[in-house]
């Protein structure tokens, strides 16, 4: 029951609320308005804070005095939000389950795509804070998504990121960012940030820069932050992919639809225009033939910069494009923008499987959006949408699809999901799954500006994914059952895999390498962590806040700070791991260094690294291998990627296995720790295939052993430098076409053919080429070779054989020919007419001192 005074109070409050929030104090108030405002402000002093519900601020608006935000605020383009001096904005904490893609944080946030002007003064600063202050991170922050902000005399506390500046323009003066998880996050490639006479302190991280342009910090103190004051990361990068949109040949518009329902079966061909909300009722079907183009005009009645036209399927949709004639859903506007149209929505459509094959969705709010439906998406593309796909309570298959440059790739909840063989590049967020039964396999995710993969609750099988070059790799929380196996998690700007409140989960045979912070973070985790390769992470292999389970059979090497950093005071079981050739005490941070921490029980030290079987067909990204690696099949280092093999590493190839390199290979052995490429089983030539280099620009091979291969190295069109290679007992040590190739200080021994050149451009100098059947075989165009200061000896057939198709003379002066008459060891034009001659004069009478050639 509402008492009289209370009722009056609520009435008064409602009047003020109506004035300020519904009509909103807009634009420049006139004198009358100023009087009213003054009265209202006087009254307002007597009132508690007003609530701002989830709101799109559609016109210029002013905030002042006390504000309480309980839901997100969006300032769309063209709108200015002004915050008057002395205003305090309190934000309620909430781990929201909201699904709207236009917001950036899962927490309550103020998203600005237009402009925000914060007009605090020294006497009356503006304050943004959590309504329930905690450790920081209770609310999202002031998030500028391409928007503009001018801040004066402002304090922001309690946020996940007080300022999150995505391609934003910011000027801030006398601003304090304190008590947040992140003070400021500057992100993107097209922003301009200037912070003057401000303080960024007492946050976990002061300022994070993931941007091409450095922020200008003039007279600003960035100090006293708990973990780091400043964290600079490279912009996440995706591998090369087709960046252009599909451009169909446009036909005249065959049919235009407005607000209407299509009963029965409707078949679409040609070019369709939708200028309203089209509905396919229950029992009806929409069938779309290959090559159809569906264009949606823009209608924005609520001025939120998001279009409203779309399709609602309550019956069934079959959209069956082909690779050559895809079906295109896109904006009808001349200048197409993200969010021009709403979505293809499906509701309660589960009588048959809805099918989207070879479809392209562009410029939508949500490309596909469905509830209670059965949907298969195959070989389709989602580009430049606020969100590619969003669904809940559905049975879903998403296969072989690509998600490119969306604000958010995929979000799904409470569903049965098979998500496999998809590619997600350059999205702001990758996938976000909540409370699903999930199979997540063989996907490739790169270039994500936030988490590539976020999975909460439910169970998940996560297998054979390539998650490289994102800001954050994978975040798993509250998973009660599942497995993370055979994944490549590399090159994250921060941590590759974070698990929190996870139980009954196996993490095995994953590559967690070359990440900007940690390979793996564990907080409140019960798991079995075995057989993973954690290598060359900038900070830690594993950072442990709290953990129960076993960590065994893993290989740690080259991590910047520690292999394992244990923060909790409880001991953990970590026996049977390989610590990169170090004693555990040298690479583990535990009670031995800090008495407040538990012990890492690593008493059993593996003398040899545990075998790590490369789990994928690709070595994508910047990959470093260390320890004992087993290769099956022919995994590829794709163009734009680079593989570094650390000193002391052994790579063992299964029968017929090999390596294909289209990126760059660096075999970085040292005299003390050579690299070995050898057979997994068998010790005879041909026990494995070859290392094939195809335009593998700038590859190098140093202090390396290659043995028992069919061809050790097979190089085409690659500028390749080889030194201190020992190629022995292969069918062929090395073959190459073109170049330029430099081979020096190497040994080719006991191969059928030591070196084979085909139209080669190479310098071959200071090598020992001995005990092969043929030392050097020149198949064609031998004039491109320079062969000098080598020791040729005991090659049973020939030291050099000029091939039948080689009509050119081969420059090979100043070599030693094994103490025999040189011509007796050479097959060339002197023995067969028309074949090029080896120009061996002058030749050396005694061997070159090459005792350091090859490896020891």
């Amino acid at each position: 029951m509402i008492a009289g005074p209370t009722f009056s109070f609520l009435l008064l409050h409602s009047i003020v609320y109506h004035y300020l929030m519904v009509n909103r104090v807009t634009r420049q108030p006139n004198i009358g308005n100023r009087v009213i405002l003054s009265l209202i402000l006087l009254l307002f002093l007597l009132l508690p804070p007003q609530n701002a519900e989830a709101a799109i601020i559609a016109t210029d608006t002013v905030w002042q005095n006390e504000m309480l935000l309980t839901e997100d605020i969006l300032v769309p383009p063209g709108v200015t939000l002004t915050v008057r001096p002395g205003t305090t904005v309190r934000v309620s904490p909430a781990e929201s389950t909201k699904t709207d893609p236009e917001f950036i944080s899962p927490l309550i946030e103020i998203t600005v795509r237009g402009r925000i002007s914060i007009e605090g003064s020294l006497e009356a600063p503006v304050r943004f804070m959590s309504a329930e202050p905690g450790k920081g991170g209770e609310w999202g922050g002031l998030l500028l998504d391409g928007g503009e902000a001018a801040l004066k005399n402002c304090t922001i506390t309690g946020a996940d990121s007080a300022l999150y500046l995505l391609d934003a323009k910011l000027t801030a003066e006398n601003t304090t960012l304190s008590g947040n998880r992140h003070g400021a996050t500057v992100i993107g490639s097209d922003g301009k940030v200037s912070i003057t006479k401000s303080i960024i302190s007492n946050n976990d991280y002061g300022i994070i820069i993931i941007a091409r342009t450095e922020p200008l910090l003039t007279g600003t103190t960035v100090a006293g932050n708990r973990k780091k004051d400043r964290w600079k990361e490279d912009l996440p990068t995706a591998p090369e992919y087709q960046k252009n949109s599909y451009a169909p040949s446009l036909l005249p518009i065959a049919r235009t639809y407005t607000d209407e329902a299509l009963l029965g079966d409707t078949v679409w061909r040609g070019r369709i225009r939708v200028e309203g909300n089209l509905r396919i009722p229950e029992g009806s079907r929409l069938l779309i033939t290959p090559g159809t183009v569906i264009e949606f005009s823009r209608k924005d009645t609520n001025n939120d910069a998001i279009g409203e036209n779309g399709i609602l399927i309550q019956g069934t949709i079959i959209a069956k494009g082909t690779k050559l004639a895809p079906i295109l859903f896109r904006s009808a506007e001349k200048s197409r923008k993200m969010g021009d149209w709403d979505s293809v929505n499906l509701m309660n459509s589960d009588k048959a499987e809805n099918l989207f094959e070879n479809c392209i969705f562009e410029d939508a709010y949500r490309g596909l959006h469905f509830h209670y439906s059965t949907v298969k998406v195959a070989s389709s593309s989602f580009r430049n949408n606020f969100r590619g796909i969003q669904f809940q309570e559905s049975a879903v298959e998403i296969l072989d699809a690509e998600f490119i440059a969306n604000r958010s790739g995929v979000q799904g909840r409470d569903s049965f999901i098979r998500f496999s063989d998809n590619r997600l590049f350059d999205n702001h967020q990758g996938v976000n799954f909540f409370r699903n039964n999930l199979t997540f396999s063989a996907n490739q995710i790169s270039g994500t500006l936030k988490e590539a993969v976020r999975i909460r609750e439910g169970n998940a099988t996560i297998d054979r994914n390539i998650i490289t070059g994102n800001r954050l790799g994978m975040l798993l929380t509250d998973i009660y059952y599942g497995a993370v196996t055979n994944n490549l998690l590399a090159n994250s700007s921060e941590t590759a895999l974070s698990m929190r409140s996870v139980d009954n989960i196996e993490v095995s045979n994953n590559y967690l390498g070359r990440n900007g912070a940690n390979g793996l973070n564990l907080q409140d985790v019960r798991a079995e962590i075995k057989g993973n390769l954690l290598v060359s992470n900038a900070e830690r292999g594993i950072g442990i806040t709290s953990f129960s389970g076993t960590i065994s059979g893993n290989s740690f090497a080259g991590n910047g700070l520690y292999a394992i950093d244990l923060e909790s005071d409880e001991d953990i079981d970590a026996v049977g791991n390989w610590w990169g050739g170090e004693a555990p005490v040298a690479v583990v941070f535990d009670r031995q260094r800090d008495r407040t921490r538990g012990r890492v029980l690593a008493d059993t030290v593996a003398a040899q690294p545990a075998s790590f079987t490369w789990p994928l067909d690709l070595l994508s990204g910047q990959i470093t291998l260390a320890g004992d690696i087993v290769i099956n099949g022919h995994p590829e280092v794709p163009k734009g990627s680079a593989l570094t093999v650390s000193p002391g590493t052994t790579v063992r190839f299964a029968a017929n296995a090999g390596l294909k390199v289209h990126g760059r290979l660096t075999s970085a052995g040292t005299p003390a720790k050579p690299v070995r490429f050898t057979a997994l089983a068998g010790k005879s030539p041909g026990s494995w295939d070859e290392i094939a280099l195809e335009q593998a620009v700038d590859s190098t091979i140093s202090h390396t052993l290659i043995e028992y291969a069919t061809w050790g190295i097979h190089s085409h069109f690659t500028n390749l430098r080889i030194d201190h290679l020992l190629a022995r007992q292969n069918i062929g040590g090395m073959r190459f076409r073109s170049g330029p190739v430099l081979i020096r200080q190497s040994v080719f021994r006991e191969n059928s053919i030591g070196i084979r050149s085909y139209i080669g451009n190479a310098v071959i100098e200071e090598n020992v080429i001995t005990a092969n059947e043929i030392g050097l075989f020149v198949r064609e165009r031998g004039s491109g070779l320079t062969i000098r200061n080598n020791n040729f000896s005991e090659n049973s057939d020939y030291n050099i054989r000029s091939g039948d198709f080689n009509a050119e003379d081969i420059p090979a002066a100043e070599n030693w020919w094994g103490g025999q008459e040189p011509l007796a060891t050479i097959f060339d034009g002197r023995m067969e007419e028309g074949v090029g001659k080896v120009q061996l004069e002058p030749y050396l009478k005694s061997p070159v001192n090459l005792e350091n050639a090859g490896i020891k």
């Binding site: 209407e260 329902a261 009963l263 079966d265 229950e282 082909t322 099918l355 059965t374």
Partner: protein, 237 residues
């Protein structure tokens, strides 16, 4: 009535009525009327009293109706005479205002039914009305579990890529099939989800499939969690 009254009121009224009738558009003339009648029942088959049939002269049914029938009798029967035209019809049982959103307890017949009068000028049209919210809840609980069939498509012993399998509930090929698989890959494999029942499977390389008669394989699909393996060796459409 006096003759003066007749001259001053009845005669002009009659003339007015006649002239109005002559000027009326043909669709509103009495001889162009059509009678629509039928029974309105609940989803349990019981007659619904007090329901009305709303008739719309265009596809837009989210506006005031052009005609509304008298309320149904205790036996659920309604009857309405309207100008002969094409209509969309829905039945509603509303407790409050005739217009506006359905309130809890109101009932509705769902998708509008298209009415095309024939030469008889007499139409019978029955409706079933239900609480939409209740219907949605029932539907959610009874979400359709689709069975899955999977197999290899081949012709002359060769696996076929870039075709798809469809399922019909009858042998007639004049209508489009009810269910479609995705395109096969090089391995010729297809997957198709459909409710348990009797089907006739075919395959085609163009979409939608041509209406020409096709060889179909008859299969009975039972409910089950695991895919049923059915390889198909059929001539292509």
């Amino acid at each position: 009535m006096t003759s003066g009254q007749f001259r001053s009121f009845v005669l002009p009224a009659t003339v007015l009525l006649l002239s109005t009738a002559l000027l009326m558009p043909p669709e509103l003339r009495a001889e162009e009327n059509v009678t629509i009648s039928g029974k309105i029942s609940s989803i349990n088959g019981e007659p619904v009293v007090g329901a009305e049939v709303y008739l719309y002269a265009s596809g837009n049914t989210r506006k005031p109706a052009d005609f509304i029938s008298p309320k149904t009798t205790p036996t659920g029967v309604y009857r309405v005479i309207v100008p002969k035209a094409v209509y969309r019809a829905v039945a509603r049982l509303k407790k409050g205002e005739r217009y506006g959103p359905l309130m809890p307890g109101d009932r509705h017949s769902g998708e509008p039914v298209k009415i095309v009068p024939d030469e008889e000028n007499e139409l019978t049209l029955d409706f079933t009305v239900a609480d939409m919210q209740e219907l949605a809840q029932r539907r959610e609980k009874g979400r359709t579990d689709l069975a899955e069939i999977s197999g290899i498509v081949s012709s002359d012993g060769k696996r076929i890529a870039s075709v798809y399998v469809y399922a019909r509930t009858g042998r007639l090929t004049a209508t489009l099939p009810e269910y479609f698989s995705g395109w096969t890959a090089a391995d010729g494999r297809y997957n198709l989800k459909l409710p348990p029942g009797l089907y006739f499977l075919g395959m085609a390389a163009e979409f939608p499939p041509p209406e020409t008669a096709a060889a179909l394989k008859e299969v009975m699909i039972s409910a089950g969690k695991l895919p049923v393996a059915i390889d198909l060796q059929l001539p292509l459409q």
